[in-house]
Point group: C2
Chain length 362, copies 2
Amino acid sequence: MSTRIQAVYRVKAEPSTIEARARGISVEQSVEMPVAPIDDPFVINDIIGRVEEIKDLGGGDYEVRIGLASITTGYDGGQLINMILGNTSLQDGVSLIDAEFPADIVEAFGGPNLGVAGVRARVGAKGALSATALKPQGTPPATLARLAYDIALGGIDYIKDDHGLSDQAYCPFSARVPMIAEAVHKAGQKTGIPTRYLPSLNGTTDKMRQQIVLARSVGLDGVLIAPMLCGFSTFQALKQENPDFLFMTHPSMAGGPMSPRFFFGKLMRLLGSDASVFCNYGGRFGYSPELCRAIAGWCLEDAPGLKPCLPVPAGGMELKRVPELLDFFGRDVMLLIGGSLLSAKDKITKETEAFCNAVRSY
Amino acid sequence: MSTRIQAVYRVKAEPSTIEARARGISVEQSVEMPVAPIDDPFVINDIIGRVEEIKDLGGGDYEVRIGLASITTGYDGGQLINMILGNTSLQDGVSLIDAEFPADIVEAFGGPNLGVAGVRARVGAKGALSATALKPQGTPPATLARLAYDIALGGIDYIKDDHGLSDQAYCPFSARVPMIAEAVHKAGQKTGIPTRYLPSLNGTTDKMRQQIVLARSVGLDGVLIAPMLCGFSTFQALKQENPDFLFMTHPSMAGGPMSPRFFFGKLMRLLGSDASVFCNYGGRFGYSPELCRAIAGWCLEDAPGLKPCLPVPAGGMELKRVPELLDFFGRDVMLLIGGSLLSAKDKITKETEAFCNAVRSY
C-alpha cells in the first residue's frame, strides 16, 4: 500500500455539488479519467485519489482533504506539484492551502541542506540576520562588485543578486560572479564578518549546474534560486547534488492558486530552501501581518526529518522598520532590505552598518 | 537602444492610484528598486520599464501597457516569464493579459519547429486531427502498450501519454516508451496510418534530454512537455536542440494570473509549441466558448517569424460532441478525447474508428 499525501484544498461550491466537486479533484489529481472502467485493483486501491474529509467553512466555502498516493509523484519535484495541483490549478474557485507529506516523501526530498543553524553558522551570527540584494539590473559587473564591496564593509550577513540579474549580455553570470565574490571576500577580511554572496541561478538544469561549479571555484557556498521559474525537479536535483550549499529561494511566479503559507513555509522547505524569501506586510505586496506570521511559523515549526528554514520577509522594507519587524518576527528571521538601502548611494556603507547594528543589537 | 516587449496587464485600481500602480509594475518588472537613486544613463534609458498607456475599461478596471526592454530577458525562457510576470504575479488585482514581442524576441525563441502543416504532414492528415491520451497512471507498461495498439488500430493520428505518467517505479519511462512505440508502430503498419506516439517528458533538463534520446532511438519524433512544470528555459533548450521534433504542450500548473488566451495562444507558441493543449468549454474546466475561440485564434493567426500552432481543446470531451466541436473550431484543430474513449474498454478500437471517421469526414 502506498502512503498518501494529504492535500487540502479550499473550494467554493454549492452545498449540493461539493461532494461531486471533491471527487472530481481526487480523480483530476490522480487517474484523470472516469473511474468506472478502471478494473486494475492496484489502480483502484493504490492510485486513485481518495476524498478523506469535507469540512463546511460556511459562506459557500469548503475545506476538502484528498489522499493522493505518494508513489504517483515518482519522488520527483515537477511531478509532485503536477500531482498536488497541476490540472486543478486551471479550475475556478479552488486553491491548495496545505499538504501533509508522509515520511517517504519527506525522506525523498529531504528539506534544507543547512537549515536555520547552518545559515547562521556560515556568518557567525547568533540571532536575527541581515541581507540585501544587488540592483539594479543593467549595472555592469565592476559596478556591482564595487557596490557589493561597499555593502559588505558595512558588515552585512548575506548579499544576494537581484532575481532580475540572470545572464544578460550586459552582465554575464561568468563575468559578474567572480568579481563580486572577490569584492565581498576582500571586504569580509577587513570587517572580520564572513559576509556571504549568493548569485542568482538561471536557465536550464545543466546551465545552473555549471553556474554552481563556477560559484564553487571562486569560493562561494550558496546561491539564490527561483523554483517556479526553473521547475521543482531542477531545484531538487541541484540541492541534492550540492549538500554543502546554501539555497535561498525566490518567489518569482509563485502567484498561482496556492496559499502563500503553504508555498513559502512548507513546500519550499520540503524541497530544500534554507532561507525562503516571501512578501512582507506593509511593503509592495498585499500580504497581511497574520499571513506573514503564519509563513514564518511554518518555516520554523518542528517537522520530523526536515531542518527549519529561515523566513526572509522582503519587498519594500526600510531601515526604520527594523525594530518593528524584529519585535514581530523575533530572532529567527533574516531581514532583507534591498532598494531602500541602495538609495543611500555613497553613504551605503554607513547605512548598512546602521542596518546591521539594529539587527545584531536586538 | 533595446527593443521593448509591450506587456499588457489588467489592473483593478482606484482612479486616484492607477498611475502610481502602473509605474509600480514598470519598476517591479525591471529594476525593482526606487528609481530616484539610479544615475546610469543606460539603466535609465534602456532598462527601466516604461508605462506606455493606461486605458480605463470602466468599473475600476484598467488596461496598462508597459514597455519592458527585451535585453533584460537575456533571451532565456525562464528569465522571459520572470521579467513579464515574476514578482507581479504575487500582487493582488493584476494579471498579464497579452504581450507583443519584438522581432529579436521572436527570432531568439523561434516558435514551433513544425507548426500546423508539419503536425498534419507527420500523419498524412488534410484537415482536423484526432488524438487521445494513455491512462490511467498505475497501469503497467505492457498493458499501456496493448491499449495503445488497440487505439492505433482505430486509425487515430496522435496518442500521447497522460501527463500523470512520468517515471514512477510501477511504470518507468525507459520501460514504457519502447513498448508503446513498438505497439503503435505495428498498428500503423496494419492501418496504413502512421499514428504518432508522444511520450511525456519529466524531471530535470538533462533527464528530459536523455528521454528524447531514448524516444529517438525507438523511432519516435515528438513528445509531450508541461512548460510550467519543467520551466521555460528547459522547454526552450529542448525545442531548439531537436528541430525535427514535435512538441505538444500540456497546461499543468498554468492557472496563475495570466490570461489563458495569452498563455495557450501566444506564449506557448512563441516558446515552440506545435500543438497547444488547453481546457475546452463544456468539459471539466470553466472556460467559455468565446475564450476557447480566442485561444484557437491566437494559436493560428499570422505572426511574422512564427509558424502557427495547432489548438488542442481537451478536458472531458466526448465522441458525440465531435461534430459540434468541428463546427465550432473548423478544420485547424486537433480534438483530444481521453478518458471517455477509454471507457469503451474492449470496444476501444471500434470507438476510436468512429472518432477518427467523424474527424476525417468533416
